[in-house]
Point group: C2
């Protein structure tokens, strides 16, 4: 097996805790906040995939806002445009999981580190800066650069080009099972962070390793050489 | 506006009533049947889109079975392979909505009629034959023929080629808002059958007409010339 030369991380849900959104929505909208949050997230993913398939790229921040508008309509919640914008901007202020900073510090001693996200550049810079994580990465790679969304092989290819290593030398880390599936389909070595004890996708590929939390990357014996 | 020369219908959810599946699943698995049905359907769509984006086509019957297996895992329901196959085969025996047969008979007097579905040929033939609908259509067009899933423009193009008309001369009919969005993005005239009173997608296109049920196609004054 190839030696790992770089770690490439998904952002939303992997480094950044999107579950914090649900708490804010419940605080704002009571019980309706739960359905609103669930619908928003699933539509956000769905819209990124539909745009990719329709060959009609839109920045992820637009998609996030459109998905929120759909979710508000579905839940019969009426708010003005300014409020929609405020809510959508939560994505720039998501907290990182607690083990992110120490894990990145540890890995940065030995490997190139990158983020590879469907988020557009502005959205990513904002969220990483909010958590003072920006300096940890050699590359912050956005769907914007290629106008393609994950799980398209064309966006995973971006990491190979920027890090100047082979796909087998990249360890791709994601909490999103569909993203781990896409990354494995592309040819990365894939570590799936399964914090919620979910089943993996049934699409004919498996992650190389399943970890319960991000900091397991610093202690797992199967990740050689440390 | 161009004269309509052909009606092209989506199959699952538009002509065929997939809500009947939920009843069977509740009968089999009690309360867990509801979550199982919801997860199965959403994963089925998700897997078709992910396969499309990953450039890894699989027939829809495979995807349907894989999505069911995921949903069973998620709901912690253990059944043997034979049972999984039996459940997946429900898709070949879905009942058509009551107004389908009379609506098709009416439209067939004046227009070419076609089905255009993500379902593979065998699955479609089975479900249409089960409802004695097969003879109503001039063309039954499947994702199989192009190995592309909706909402890719490449599969909508198939209808243009087969019917030998322009895209503006085709009225595309779907109950699935994402499909209506893809069809409009491609350039068809689009009639969205919104039986469940859902909001439409927020992806920058709108259907030409929203109808509450399929038989409204036979009476709506905006659909000229009858």
């Amino acid at each position: 097996m190839s030696v790992i030369k770089g770690f490439v991380f998904d952002a939303f849900g992997t480094l950044l805790d999107i579950s914090s959104i649900d708490q804010k929505l419940v605080w704002e909208f009571g019980n309706k906040g739960i359905e609103l949050g669930t619908t928003w997230r699933s539509k956000q993913l769905e819209y990124s995939w539909l745009c990719q398939i329709m060959e009609r790229y839109q920045p992820f921040s637009h998609i996030t806002r459109a998905a929120l508008q759909y979710a508000l309509n579905k839940c019969a919640i009426e708010v003005d445009d300014r409020k929609v914008t405020d809510l959508a901007n939560i994505y720039g202020q998501l907290p990182a999981f607690e083990d992110v900073a120490p894990t990145l510090q540890f890995l940065a001693q030995r490997y190139q580190l990158a983020v590879l996200s469907n988020g557009d550049s502005r959205m990513l810079q904002e969220a990483l800066s909010f958590n003072k994580l920006h300096d940890q990465f050699d590359f912050v790679l956005s769907a914007d650069e290629v106008e393609q969304f994950k799980p398209s092989p064309k966006i995973y290819e971006l990491a190979v080009e920027k890090l100047e290593v082979t796909k087998e030398e990249i360890a791709f880390v994601s909490s999103n099972a569909w993203d781990a599936t896409g990354a494995k389909n592309f040819g990365f070595r894939v570590f799936w962070i399964n914090r919620k004890h979910l089943p993996f996708e049934q699409l004919g590929v498996e992650p190389d390793l399943v970890l319960g939390q991000l900091q397991d990357l610093t202690t797992n014996e199967d990740i050689a050489p440390f």
